[in-house]
């Protein structure tokens, strides 16, 4: 896992890429907790989102969960393979299971997110 990856408390991860765009996905912990995924709604490319705003939804057998943007910016790509292959989220959550790419308005927003150790502490607390 790349060292620069950051996490939101709402379980999305974000990884800056070389071209100024950042890739966003759902953490392995969250995917496992969702269980039995049945449907996913991706955002439209070009949509502007604010940090903390819902950008998509995912449905499991029991629940619909919102996906929240870890940073503000413009969505420049979505993983169109996902709705037809939801198992990618579990098989490769930090690779082929990416959800969207966003061009951050303010890269400094990344600093407010959790690093791996802090996120691990969050999920450890949630499990107790």
């Amino acid at each position: 896992m790349a060292a620069e990856m950051k996490f939101a408390k709402t379980h999305e991860w974000i990884r800056p890429e070389a071209d100024g765009v950042a890739t966003v996905g759902i953490s392995a912990y969250a995917v496992e907790a969702l269980t039995d995924l049945v449907f996913m709604q991706l955002p439209a490319v070009g949509k502007k989102v604010k940090a903390g705003e819902s950008f998509g939804e995912i449905e499991s057998v029991k629940a619909v969960s919102d996906l929240y943007a870890p940073v503000s910016g413009e969505i420049v790509a979505v993983n169109t393979a996902l709705p037809g292959q939801l198992d990618l989220l579990g098989k490769d959550p930090y690779g082929a299971g990416w959800v969207m790419k966003i061009r951050p308005d303010d890269p400094a927003e990344m600093s407010a997110l959790l690093d791996q150790a802090a996120y691990d502490a969050v999920i450890k607390n949630a499990s107790h």
Partner: protein
């Protein structure tokens, strides 16, 4: 642990019920305690799961006479009118808010115990999920409440009498559920499913409030707390008015989102 606050609300139209449930979630997040409201429907209504296809609903002649509303929660379609509907909202930080299964199992286990005390052979479904039928009560998933008719051997195919589904937001979880009291009237055969009264003729629907009392006592115990009935009906505070929420659920684009 904060006590569970409960309201016994009356009947309302579908969009108003959805708006109130969303407001209940916001209130649970704001006040940091679990909240539940029980309610009915002023007209026969079919509530669709958040991502069910509207065209599928329109294509079923047996429910053509019913109103349609789309829930924020997932799952299959429910024909309302012969059920006791509840919306339970807990803050995401609540011990039962961390995963979908925890709250689902807690609510259903509590009701199963209460129904067993009333002579109904109710239990949680434990087999693999079935295919996604259009109707909630034709589906089976782990934790659904099923019941064996008197004189029959228990089977995974026993009728489902309660199903629930959630909307998991950043700060709260809203769990919708329906206890089917009797077979739905006013709809065709494809939309009818047996309810508790059909399985246990001695079941007294008139004593629903007492049933809810017993259920809440057990649910609250599972939350390591107690419960209180609140006076009147649930209404959000003035700064969280319902109109925008009702407008959102009334918007044809919401109903036709898929």
């Amino acid at each position: 642990m904060a006590t569970l606050a409960a309201w016994w609300d009356g009947d309302a139209e579908g969009v108003a019920n959805m708006a109130l449930d969303e407001a209940l979630g916001a209130a649970a997040e704001r006040c940091g305690r679990p909240l539940i409201r029980f309610y009915g429907w002023s007209r026969p209504t079919v509530s669709l799961g958040a991502f069910q296809k509207l065209a599928d609903a329109r294509g079923i002649a047996d429910i053509a006479a019913a109103d349609l509303v789309r829930r924020p929660s997932g799952g299959g379609a429910i024909v309302h009118g012969s059920d006791l509907t509840y919306a339970l909202a807990v803050p995401k930080s609540h011990p039962l808010g961390s995963t979908a299964q925890l709250l689902y199992t807690a609510a259903h286990t509590a009701l199963a115990t209460v129904l067993q005390e009333r002579g109904i052979d109710a239990r949680l479904y434990g087999d693999r999920p079935t295919d996604d039928d259009f109707f909630c009560f034709s589906r089976r998933a782990g934790g659904d409440l099923i019941a064996t008719p008197p004189g029959r051997e228990p089977s995974p195919a026993d009728p489902k009498i309660m199903g629930s589904a959630q909307r998991r937001l950043a700060g709260a979880v809203i769990q919708h559920g329906s206890l089917l009291l009797r077979e739905n009237g006013g709809v065709g055969p494809a939309a009818r499913h047996p309810g508790v009264e059909n399985l246990c003729p001695r079941f007294e629907t008139q004593a629903l409030r007492q049933l809810a009392d017993a259920w809440l006592a057990r649910l609250a115990a599972a939350m390591a707390t107690s419960f209180d009935w609140e006076p009147g009906t649930f209404s959000p505070p003035p700064h969280d008015e319902l109109r925008p929420r009702i407008a959102a659920y009334s918007d044809p684009r919401w109903l036709a989102r898929r």
